[in-house]
């Protein structure tokens, strides 16, 4: 059956409203979108690394999740869910659990690109049947917008401020999706919120229903850290994709495939200029930063196109 957002939205919610994420935050949209891809009737255990999502969606005594949920710490969402999955396998075999469960864990870029990378790598390498979803907002937002290895070059963050000598973060963004692909897991993909959420939905469904360890990297903008108006969230996601700053692609059984090709590749300024974190790049004398960013994006895009040939 063809994808229909209307029909998907009629399914019972798995993330309740009333959680305390900011208006215009991508994290909650990522969680809702991914959990919507679960088939009705299938049960899930949802995991979470410490971060904005965790402290906003499970504040004792209220949980926003209809499914079972576990948070343990910041850097171990991969290993914690691996333990749940291991328990499921043995309890199912022993006949103590009857239902079919899926295991989906969420972490921000702090918990995924950085402090939790080892735990994630271990879980992927060992082959647990689970999905790890990174909601990537490109900085440590929960502690107040510090730079992460996912923060793009020149972005203004509180530990990489744009000053008179150093113009924001000096380093480029780490390519985590490719690192995950290098684990030779059955499915890895990059997505974000575009149009009717079909891309997110189809990738989430594949990740959940492909046996083995799967990885989803979801660009999930943060209005506080990126400095945009809440209502511009969808527009910013579209520009990230159409400028090829955040290409949409998937790696399925080793095959690289672009899932979206911009009709017209837009210049990076269109993405950058919408966000306060890049404001200093538009001052007089900063033109080189935009050029450098464009060069980097072009180079990465070309490499990706070659992989997807």
């Amino acid at each position: 059956m063809a994808y229909s957002l209307k029909r998907e939205l009629e399914k019972p919610e798995r993330l309740a409203g009333g959680h305390r994420l900011c208006a215009g935050c991508g994290a909650g949209i990522a969680v809702r979108g991914v959990l919507r891809a679960l088939d009705e009737g299938d049960r899930a255990v949802v995991g979470n690394a410490t971060g904005c999502l965790e402290v906003s969606s499970f504040i004792y005594p209220n949980t926003a999740y209809y499914d079972s949920y576990i948070h343990s710490a910041f850097e171990n969402a991969g290993a914690t869910m691996a333990g749940v999955e291991a328990a499921y396998n043995v309890l199912k075999k022993k006949g103590k659990v009857q239902d079919t469960y899926k295991f989906i864990t969420f972490g921000g870029d702090g918990g995924t690109y950085d402090i939790g990378l080892q735990s994630l790598s271990g879980a992927m390498e060992r082959g647990h049947d689970m999905v790890y979803v990174c909601y990537d907002n490109e900085a440590y937002m929960n502690t107040g917008i510090q730079r992460s290895s996912s923060t793009p070059q020149f972005a203004n963050a509180t530990t990489s401020p744009a000053g008179s000598v150093i113009p924001g973060k000096p380093q480029n963004k780490k390519n985590l999706t490719e690192i995950m692909a290098a684990h030779n897991i059955p499915y890895a993909a990059q997505t974000t919120f575009l149009n009717d959420f079909r891309d997110l939905h189809e990738k989430a469904h594949k990740a959940i229903y492909t046996e083995g360890p799967c990885f989803l990297n979801v660009l999930a903008p943060c209005p506080r850290g990126w400095r945009y108006e809440a209502e511009d969230l969808a527009e910013i996601c579209r520009l990230a994709v159409d400028t090829c700053v955040w290409p949409l692609y998937e790696i399925e059984a080793g095959e690289w495939r672009l899932t979206y090709e911009p009709r017209r590749k837009l210049p990076v300024e269109e993405f950058l200029s919408k966000q306060g974190r890049f404001r200093h790049m538009f001052r007089k004398g900063s033109e080189w930063m935009i050029l450098k960013t464009q060069e980097y994006v072009d180079e990465q895009w070309e490499k990706l196109l070659q992989k997807c040939e």
Binding site: V45, N48, T63, Y65, Y69, S72, A79, G83, A86, G122
Partner: protein
């Protein structure tokens, strides 16, 4: 009929794990506990257990796997030592506050700085405030017996538990042991039937909330209550174990304490050395005794104080330094326990055996000699002492009252 065997502490633990057949084991190798997952992997490879063994990439993930598995409703176990335990530190608190029954073997080893693979208790003593129960063993028989009891204790109290043995001395030292038949062990530990768990069909569960100020402190209070309430549970499980094996366990063992005038309080394998000193001193007509502490968490404050109160002077032995400038952890808690009792003895502290340093029967002779001097002169001197250490400032000993004489 019990099975007579010869094996090391690590092998005995692995054997106990095989008999228990836990649902999930997450483990990462570290000397001197490495053999435990090695032996266990053999059992896995030969189809002798139904466990899901998760060979993680770090101890941090080993504990995380145990947390996930236990929350999901599985009986979870692990084993570690030293820096491995230190690396788990954050998750120890998560496991305890989430009230997850997890059994962890600790083959005690010094913490790095400098790196040492020798035995001492700085690893588990460092984790003493994490909300885990801690049971220590003198020899391989005790560590085997403690492990089996720990499974029942942790599941009854919903407090995770460390089963500690002295690295190399017990973990690698081979000695005679009586094993229990597989069927009896299985009957003893039974099936794990958690009340609430993630994979519960009827009732989904959320674990690991953000605890705001109106709730956080109550969680801690409940953990403290659970630790208090675990005291009778430990004794009930020990009684059930005695009925099966004839071997008796309590919070501590009193050795020649009936008429003792001075005594030593010690944890772990060094109790064996201490007992030998007691035997020899008794043969010389000296009334000396020894208390071997088995359960450190919960700390058996009142019974231990009462036992210590029967002597005139007591030496509390710490195989861990706490750099507090007031002695080791066992000393501070034991001495504090004595405070309210009338007729309390003098209590002094010896730091000993760090990083695998031997403690000998002669050392215990010296300690007992000091205790008699204290009792006879009514002068405890400096209560914070070292034994078996070189120190350029003194002829022998560290913070030693003798240099001030």
């Amino acid at each position: 009929m019990a099975i007579r065997e010869r094996m090391s502490g690590n092998e005995a633990i692995a054997e106990a794990m095989r008999q228990v057949d836990p649902d999930v084991m997450g483990a990462f190798p570290i000397t001197p506990s490495t053999e435990i997952p090695e032996y266990f992997s053999e059992f896995m490879a030969n189809g002798e257990v139904s466990t899901q063994f998760v060979p993680v990439e770090s101890e941090h993930s080993a504990m995380s796997v145990c947390i996930g598995a236990s929350a999901a409703g599985a009986r979870a176990v692990t084993a570690t030592s030293s820096c491995g335990l230190a690396y788990m530190w954050e998750l120890l608190y998560v496991a305890a506050s989430s009230r997850l029954p997890i059994t962890m073997v600790v083959s005690n080893r010094a913490l790095t700085g400098p790196i040492s693979i020798g035995n001492d208790h700085s690893d588990s003593m460092g984790a003493r405030d994490s909300g885990w129960m801690q049971i220590y063993a003198e020899d391989n028989q005790e560590v085997y017996d403690n492990f089996l009891q720990a499974i029942l204790i942790t599941e009854a109290t919903r407090l995770p538990i460390m089963v500690c043995q002295d690295g190399f001395i017990t973990s690698h030292g081979v000695s005679n042991i009586q094993l229990i038949e597989d069927e009896k062990v299985k009957e003893f530990v039974g099936e794990y039937e958690p009340e609430q768990y993630l994979l519960n069909h009827d009732r989904p569960l959320a674990v690991g909330p953000y605890g705001t100020a109106p709730y956080y402190m109550e969680v801690k209070r409940q953990q403290a209550q659970a630790m208090k309430d675990s005291m009778p549970v430990i004794l009930e499980v020990a009684e059930k174990f005695r009925q099966m094996t004839g071997r008796s366990y309590g919070f501590f063992e009193e050795y020649m304490m009936e008429d003792a005038e001075v005594a030593v309080v010690v944890i772990g394998s060094s109790a064996g050395t201490g007992k030998e000193a007691v035997n020899r001193l008794r043969a010389e007509g000296r009334k000396v005794g020894l208390i071997k502490l088995r359960v450190f968490r919960p700390f058996p404050r009142i019974p231990l104080a009462e036992a210590m109160c029967r002597v005139r002077a007591v030496a509390v032995m710490d195989k861990a330094e706490s750099f507090s400038n007031s002695g080791g952890p066992l000393f501070n808690e034991s001495r504090s326990a004595l405070y309210d009792l009338p007729g309390r003895p003098y209590a002094i502290n010896y730091i000993y055996g760090l990083g695998g340093r031997d403690i000998t029967v002669d050392d215990f002779y010296e300690i007992y000699r000091d205790l008699f001097i204290i009792a006879d002169t009514n002068d405890p001197g400096d209560v914070y002492r070292y034994i078996g250490v070189r120190d350029s400032r003194y002829e022998e000993g560290g913070f030693d009252h003798r240099s001030e004489e």
